[in-house]
Structures are given as C-alpha cells and as structure tokens.
C-alpha cells in the first residue's frame, strides 16, 4: 500500500499542471495567513489604543458623584484574538463596542460589516475560507479520475495482476489524495505557528491541533468519496460532476438553508418585543430614581428599622445608594431572565444546526473550525457574559461608594480620584477549550462517523468493480 502511495506521489509531482496549481495555491494560502495575521495585529493595536483611551478617561476623573459615574460608565471593546487569523467566524458581524453603565445591560454595537457596503458573502481571505471551500475542490480535481483513468489505461489490471488487491489500490489512492490536503493544512498551520511563535501557548496549540484534526477528517471524507465515485463509474466526467454537485449542495446550499430553518424552528424575539418584555418586568421592581415608588418606600422602612432610626436624614449612610443597588439587583434578575432566554434559543438553534452534520459534514467542519478558533457564537456569548459580570461588579462598587459617601457640611459626597483609580478595568479572560470542548463533541463525532462511512463505502461498494 505504501508503495502505491509513493508511486501516486511520484506521478503527481511529475505533473506540471499539478505543480503549477499547487504553487499558485500555496502562494494564495501564504498571502491569506500573512494578511490575516497582519489584520489581527492591526485590529489588536486599534483595540488597545481605544481601551487605553477610555481607561485614561476613567482614571482621570477627579471628583464625581459615584452614581453620576455609573451613568458616565465605561466602554468595553471586543478584543481581537490571535486564533481569528485562521478563522474569523462571527467576529466581523457581532459588533465591537459595548457600553457598561448603570441600570441597563446594553448590547454590543458597531459591527465592522455595518460600517461599509457589501463585499464578500464568504468573509475575508482567511485561511479557513481557502481550507473550507477551495482545498476540497482541489482534492476533487485530483481524485475524480484517479481510478477510472487507471482502468482505461489498463494500469489497474496490471496492478491487480502484480498482486495488489483492488481495495488496497483504492484506499491507497484515497490516502495519497488526502495526504495532499493534509500537507497543505500542515504547511499553513506551520507558517501560522512561525508567525505567532512568541505568543504560542498550550491553549493555542491544543485548539490548533483540534482544528487540524477536524479538517483532516473532512479532507478524508472528500478524498474517499471522490475516489469511490471514480472507482464505481467508468466515466470520469460523471464522477467529477457528481462530486461538484455534492460540493455545491454541502457548502453553498445546505449551510444557508439549515441556518435559516433553525432560526425558524427556534425563533428569537424581535428587538422591540424583547425590549418591551424587559421594560414590563423591570417596571415590576424597584425604581432606583423614584423615591415615591411603593417598593422604594418598603425598602426605606426596612433600612430605617435596621439602623434603628426614624428618618433618612438620621441614617449614617446615603439611602439613595441602597435604593439604586436594590434597583440594580432587581434589574439583573430581569436581564438574566430575558438575555438568558435568548441565549437558550441560540443554543437550541446551534444544536439543530449541529444535527445537520448528519447529512452534511461541512456543517460539522464549519462549527469546529469557528469553535476551535474561538470565533463562533458560543465564544461571543462567553465574552458578553464576562462583560455583564464585570458590569455588575463595577456598578456595585459605584453604588456602595455612593451609599457610604453621605453629603455633609464638610464633604460634597462625591468620590475622589483615588476611588476611580481603584475600580478595576475589564480584563477579558479567553475561554479555555477544556471549558467548551463538550459543545463540539457532536461535530467531531459526526466527522468521524462520515469518515468511517466513507471507508465502509469503499470496502463494500468497490468489491465488485470491474477491473477494466
């Protein structure tokens, strides 16, 4: 079998067309890695500058009412991620700027896609675009006549007469075509590794390895299926057109249709419905800015009792701060309910799409590619959750300060610069693969299932093929 693979490669490297296409394609792949990496670095620089600017504004506050500071708020910018040089996933359409302030959980806005007219329907020239769409086509072109040509030239019969089993020959052809894809993949990841060598961590290596495994499995499915068709059908054109048809259905048709259908099966509320529902629930709680509110009055009585005083003015603290924090905590439960419901719907949509991998392994590949490169919706949601958790800590610090800064004859009740400096900045903790790996087990399993299915097809489907 090894000998056949070696021979296949000898034939391939002797082909000028093959070498020409390979060189041109490797050049495009290299360009995509360099540009992808450069763009990520440039975006990271823009992000760091903006983050620093906003932080400087915050730590420069000299004297401000702590609750006014909660309205002044701060901004979090979605950080670019080193892995997104390989697969940008949803990053260009999810927005980049998120305001962190009191009373409200804002949504991330100002996506890159909304800042210009349309360009590419398939995203930027990242390695994932080439690895997902173009490399499989190259494999199809390499494999579609690999067996039928041998049969027509009589070489297949010769090989069988020399002792090779038809199955061995077909599997060897599959492996040799597959190896071409794997080599391209290895080359790209190698270049990526060299470019990002200084920042490589075990997390990045693990994710890249998983990325490699999912692509390698997909390439095996494509190579095996094409060789299988080539073995089954005498006519190479038929094998080519069948595989092109499968490629179109898998990569262009089904992902779109499945995504749209999943959104119909598990509909999200419209923005206006979502806001109205939150407003309604919010109105049932305490109103932090309205002392006449009934719930506010109840809270006041509770606090007065706690401090054993009769009037707010006798309290050693600022009651408004307590009311605002109570308002905030109630608001948090409302945000958790509604944003949580949206997250659950998105999760259901994702699960439905993942099941699409049963009929379309490309779906599984897309999911794992984005997922392992930390650029899918799951990682985006993790980022949003971290920002919201930060917002809660941030606002509580401000409300606590407001509570304990009672206006007196000597003190204006405002917080000073030292306090504002003590408020920590948002630091994004990248989600580790171990924490989210279980979400991709189904995708990986389906890719393995498809690979096994292709092997079974080759073993049983080519048992009775004509040798000539």
């Amino acid at each position: 079998m090894l000998k056949i693979i070696k021979n296949e490669w000898l034939f391939l490297v002797r082909s000028r067309i093959f070498l020409g296409i390979s060189v041109a394609f490797i050049a495009i792949l290299l360009l995509s890695v360099f540009l992808g990496n450069y763009q990520t670095q440039k975006q990271a620089h823009t992000h760091d500058t903006a983050k620093e600017h906003v932080r400087q504004q915050w730590v420069s506050i000299d004297d401000m009412n702590a609750h006014s500071a909660a309205h002044y708020g701060t901004y979090v910018f979605k950080p670019s991620n080193l892995l997104s040089s390989l697969d940008e996933g949803v990053n260009s359409i999810t927005g980049n700027v998120l305001k962190v302030e009191g009373h409200v959980q804002n949504e991330i806005t100002h996506s890159e896609a909304s800042q210009m007219q349309s360009i590419s329907r398939f995203g930027k020239l990242k390695p994932s675009l080439l690895l997902q769409y173009i490399v499989p086509l190259l494999l199809v072109f390499l494999a579609f006549n690999s067996v039928s040509n041998e049969k027509q030239s009589g070489r297949f019969k010769l090989l069988v007469l020399q002792g090779a089993k038809p199955l061995q020959i077909i599997l060897s052809k599959t492996v040799s075509v597959w190896l071409y894809g794997v080599l391209l993949l290895t080359f790209i990841l190698g270049v990526y590794g060299v470019l990002t060598f200084q920042n490589l961590t075990s997390e990045i290596l693990t994710r890249t390895l998983l990325f490699f495994v999912s692509y390698a499995l997909y390439y095996f499915i494509i190579s095996g299926l094409t060789v299988f068709f080539s073995a089954r059908w005498q006519n190479a054109t038929l094998a080519l057109t069948a595989m092109l048809g499968i490629w179109i259905i898998w990569t262009i048709f089904l992902p779109n249709i499945l995504m749209s259908s999943a959104e119909k099966w598990h509909p999200l509320p419209s923005r206006s419905e979502f806001q109205a529902a939150m407003k309604e629930d919010r109105a049932k709680g305490i109103d932090g800015h309205n002392p006449a509110d009934e719930r506010s009055e109840a809270l006041k009585q509770k606090v007065l009792k706690e401090y054993k005083v009769d009037k707010i003015s006798d309290l050693p603290i600022n009651f408004s701060g307590i009311r605002l924090q109570a308002d905030e905590e109630y608001g948090n439960s409302v945000w958790d309910k509604h944003f949580g419901s949206n997250r659950a719907i998105l999760k259901n949509q994702k699960e439905s799409v993942q099941l699409g991998g049963i009929i379309n392994p490309f779906i599984s590949l897309q999911n794992t590619s984005m997922g392992f490169m930390a650029s899918d919706n799951l990682h985006h949601q993790e980022f949003l959750l971290q920002v919201e958790n930060y917002r809660r800590v941030f606002i509580k610090m401000l409300n606590d300060k407001y509570t304990h800064s009672k206006r007196t004859a000597e003190h204006n009740g405002n917080a000073d610069n030292a306090f504002f400096r003590s408020v920590p900045d948002f630091e994004y903790q990248p989600t580790t693969i171990s924490a989210v790996f279980s979400n991709y087990v189904l995708d990986l399993s389906l890719l393995i299932f498809w690979s096994l299915l292709v092997i079974v097809l080759i073993i049983f489907g080519t048992k009775k093929i004509q040798i000539v």
Binding site: N96, S118, I257
Partner: protein
Amino acid sequence: MRSLNIFILEWKHFVRSPFKIVALLLFIIASIYGLHNGADLYKKQHSEIERINKEIETQKEETLSYYRNNQKGPENRSWIDVTTPFWAIWSTPTYHFKAASPDLVYNIGQTEQYGYYKKIGTTSSPYDPDMAKEIANPERIQSGTLDFSFVVLFLLPLLLLVLLYNIKGQEAEQGFLPLVFVQTGSKNWWIASRTAFYTLLLLLTLFGLMLYGAMLTQVFDAETAFFKIFAYITIYLLIWVFVYFLILKNGKNTVSNTLQMIGVWLLFAFIIPAAVQQWVSIEKPANLMIDYIDVKRDKTEEIYGQDSDITDAQLFSLYPTLQESVIAKDSVRINNARRRSIRAILNVEMKTATDNLEKDNQAKNELIANTFWFNPISFFQNKLNTLTKTHYNDYQNYRDEIQNLVDKRLETMVLDIWNDVKINELKFIEYTNKLSK
C-alpha cells in the same frame, strides 16, 4: 434556420440529460426558497412596524388623557408636567422607520446589518444602541441568508457551468467534432448558438421566478425596480456566458473546460471579494467610535459644566430668535430653560463626531468601489442592494433622516421653552404630527 436547428437539437439534448434537468430544478427550488426568505423578511418588518405604530397610538392616547383629565402626568411621577414644552415633547412618541421595499423579495442585501425602527428623543443619535440590527443568530448572518440575489450571483454561474460544460468537449472526445463543423459551417456559430439556447432558457426561467417573487410582496403595486433588476441580472448572466463561451471556444476537452470554468467562478466568487475585504479591513480597520464616545461622555460633562454665558452664546448662535424670547429676559426662569436646552448644543457636537465616522465609512466605500472593475460580483451585489434599497447608502439616508428629526425636535423644544409656550391637547397633537415627519 441553421440556428433554429441547433436550438431544436440542443433542446433534445437537454431533455435527455437528467443531470442538467436536476441542476435546473435545484436552481428553481433554491430561487423559490430565496424569494420566500426575502418575502418573509419583508412581511416580518412590516408587521413589526405595524405593531410599533399601534403602541405609539396607545402612548399618544395616554398622554392625551392627561390633558383631557387636567392631569400633569402619571400619578407616580410628580415631576412630569405635560403642559410644558419639555415634558410634552418628552411624552410625544415618535418613531422613524425604514419601511422595506417590496423589492426586498429579490435581495435582502444589508438589511440584516441594521435596525429599521428608531425611537426618537431629544437625546437620540443615529448611532444609538437601539439602531443595532435585529436580534439574530450571528452565525446565520455570517453564513448569509439564501435569498434570490445569492442564488443569482453565486449559483447562476454554477448552473450555467453545468449546462454548458460538455459543449464541444463531448463531441471532441467522441471524435465527431470535424463532422459537426462541416454540417454547421462555423465552429464559433455552433458554440454560440448552443450557449444562446441555454442563455434564453435561463433568462426565461429567471423572468418567471421574478414574476413569482413579484406576487409574494405585490411588487407591481409600488414604485418598483423590477425591470432594472431584471436588466442587471441579464447583463450579469451575459458576462458569464461570454466568459464560458471563450473557455469552450478555446478548450480541448470536457474535464479541462470544467476545471477552467470552476476556476474562474472560484476566483470571482470567493478569492477576489475575500481578498478585497481583507485589504479594506487592513487599510481601514473597524471604527471603535472613540470620537462618538468622547462626545457622549467628556464633551457632555464639559458642556454641562461650562459658564452660562458660553452656553447662552452657543444657544443664541444656534437659534438667533432666542435672544428676543420671553425667557431670555427672565433672569430666574432662564436657568431651567438653559439647562433643558443644552441637549441642542450637545447635538451639534454629536453631529460633528458622527460626521467624522461617516467620512471614514465613505472612504471605505470608495476603496471598495475602486475595486469593482476587477470585482464584478461585489459590483452587482451592491447594484442590486441599491435597486432594492438595502444598500449601505440607503441606511445612511435613513440615519440622516433620523438626525433631521432629532434636529427638528430639539429646535421645536428649545424655541417653545424659551417662548414659554403652554401645551394643550391641540398643541400636543400638532407635536405628534410635526415631529414624526
């Protein structure tokens, strides 16, 4: 006559090619699915707008009831007084919509990147968080919606490839190409007639599909770009026919022709647009709205903290008639009026910040437009976006309209506050009409 014979023979060849028929059927199914996706979005947006309009009516009625019952506002919000211009305008529910065109059925374009309804207040800006796109699965938006334009721009060249790929190659492989040339007289004429057959077949199919789409959203009831859209689709198809014709004319066999055709498609559909997008992102990275944020926070603090003289000068420069107003001469009430009018000064600053942002975006758009001569798919995509009113510029116009409404609202509020206008039911109704147009 010669062409007619070729057409008849090609028809026979076509009906005997199950692969080609299946490809055409799949294309039709995808187109119908795409048209329904467009129509669904159109209907969804319109019903949402209708729902919001009903909500507006309820809110309007609630405020009107305060005037009718001699109330100043809601009982639990004693500080609200709807007889003053400030609170009356605050209570005037105003939304601005970007109503979808019926042509959306053909092309969703950039619709899903932006919001299409916006609540207008005196502190509003076209870049507020509520201008964000509808809540949707980002992975679905990233993979794109399968709409009719997607089918036309990306699948039509593939369908054409399937229909044309074996022209000449098959005859060459079977060895009767010289015989065909002898019978038809000219190689080019024979290939051109055969490709013309499929071009006509596709044009008829596309026209039929567009008519079907027109029934889904009553395209012809409104001012429509139906024929322009069809004209652009025809030009797009003819470009691909020409490219494939050249490949077939110079090609040697079916496999090599197929590979070349798919290679050209990959280049124009994937590689070039993706490379352009990457290049634009490097040249002009995503704007993180720092200018806008600075105005929202620091400039706001600064303006609220500045001396009254400066604020007055700025307000008088914006609205010169204020100097002669009743409140301008009232040294006590002027403080409240001034404070409530500061939003107008902030609005000017906000417009300067958004101007910069829009110039930045426009520069990106120019960069993209400069690539259209070698990036035809993006050109046609944007052309269709313009015709179906789903282009970036349509949303820019929508943002400009929002800004105009904010300007008008602020001007009305400031002038009426300073002229000490008393608001009654009639004046409130006048507000609701004036501020929404």
